[in-house]
Amino acid sequence: MSLLEETVAWFSEPAQWSGATGIPWRLAQHIGYTALAVAAAALVAVPLGLYIGHTGRWRNLAVLSTGALRALPTLGLLTLLALQLGIGLSAPIIALAVLCVPPLLAGIYSGLEAVDPATVDAARAQGMTEAHVILRVELPLAMPLIIGGLRSAVLQVIATATVAAFIGVGGLGRYIIDGLAVSDTARVLGGAVVVVILALVIDALFAAAQRLSAHFADPATPTKERHA
């Protein structure tokens, strides 16, 4: 298959491995955008998720609105924001952040909810303050589910950040959008391959983190993978 050969050839060009259009830099950008978007989402999702999970209040609202947020098409949001905010990082970062609020939020509040109420009750009855309860009991026990939420949020952003190249930012999406523009299929495929590899590596890292946290939350059980 010549397309495959072309793609291999694309990877073996030395130009691909250095400079501002090289894979390392684009990869760094991609990871950077992902981190920024997830951090921005966490700014909203963490306090909100802790509040909902700890108090059980606003839960239905949260379920409904995260459902609606999931349905929000990223491309629509991206173009809408780009028209309002112009090119630059803010539009794609906000659009991607919106994308990862639902899994992050759901991971946090459902994680906290899944903590055995008897454990929380007992902790409170021992004389723990609410802050103690959250920090020393709920958070460590919810960690596997929280990391599960983070895992799907990050993977989704990694995959979707490619679309952001549509409005002028860098990252691995550039290979795909530029490749499309100049009909260089090998480049599109090459970009896609790098994204997939990145996603797989990150996924494996998170799987390990999840196992570790599961072990931390319930050290007695043999470690096994849990999925959010």
């Binding site: 609606a68 028209l83 795909i176 994204v195």
Partner: protein
């Protein structure tokens, strides 16, 4: 609003495009994932270590599919399938792949969530294997499968809009078009319609769940034990 009213014919057409492509992708994804997921579940309790591993591999492989970014998949699909460039089947199949990827895990999780004690008691009542699979395992896995299917439905409806970047007309076309002509109303209309469509799908699924699984919506007596 006015714009939407004067262009309702085009909008209707796009809604229809969006509905049939995403609807078929969801249905096909589910139809494919059910047997594959079931096989993975069945293999899990095999006495042979190799077969058990195959089960895990099936589930992991299907998750790998989900990490492929949608845009390039949409672009590559025509080359792989050899159908025409404009054929919406390209995007449809890409979406089926995503739906399948999420759903396989959903099916396996759902089957694993069936309480073993119920299966055991069914066997003790004298259900044969086949009877048990069809009239106990399948219905009891229903609620969790439905939950996964709802996730599939929402994400498929929203993913399809990216297909507009490769020229398959659907509600996403309103985004690219509105962007090119600096017309936020058009984009907003597209966003609202996409979300509404996802909501309609979701409501249909919930209603179907109520209808098929009446036991799942009754309030339980005990509450906390």
């Amino acid at each position: 609003m006015n714009w939407a009213l004067t262009n309702y014919e085009r909008l209707l057409d796009l809604v229809w495009q969006h509905t049939w492509i995403s609807g078929s992708a969801i249905a096909l994804g589910f139809a494919l994932a059910l047997p594959v997921g079931w096989a993975a579940y069945a293999m899990k309790s095999s006495p042979h270590g190799a077969v058990r591993q195959l089960s895990g591999v099936t589930v992991s492989l299907s998750s790998v599919l989900y990490t492929i970014p949608s845009l390039p998949l949409f672009v590559i699909m025509p080359t792989i399938l050899g159908l025409g460039w404009l054929n919406p089947i390209n995007v449809l199949i890409a979406l089926v792949i995503y739906a399948f990827a999420i759903m396989v895990r959903g099916v396996v999780d759902a089957l694993n969530a069936v309480p073993p004690s119920v299966l055991d008691s069914a066997a003790a009542c004298g259900f044969s294997r086949g009877q048990r699979a069809i009239s106990v395992t399948l219905p009891l896995a229903g609620p969790v499968m439905l939950a996964a299917l709802r996730v599939v439905s929402v994400s498929t409806v929203s993913l399809l809009s990216i297909g507009a970047l490769v020229g398959v007309s659907n509600l996403g076309s309103l985004f690219t078009n509105g962007f090119n002509r600096n017309f936020p109303t058009e984009i907003l209309t597209g966003v609202v319609l996409t979300v509404a469509l996802a909501l309609v799908f979701d409501l249909l699924l919930v209603a179907a769940g109520r209808l098929l699984m009446p036991w799942n919506s009754v309030v339980s007596a005990g509450g906390s034990a």
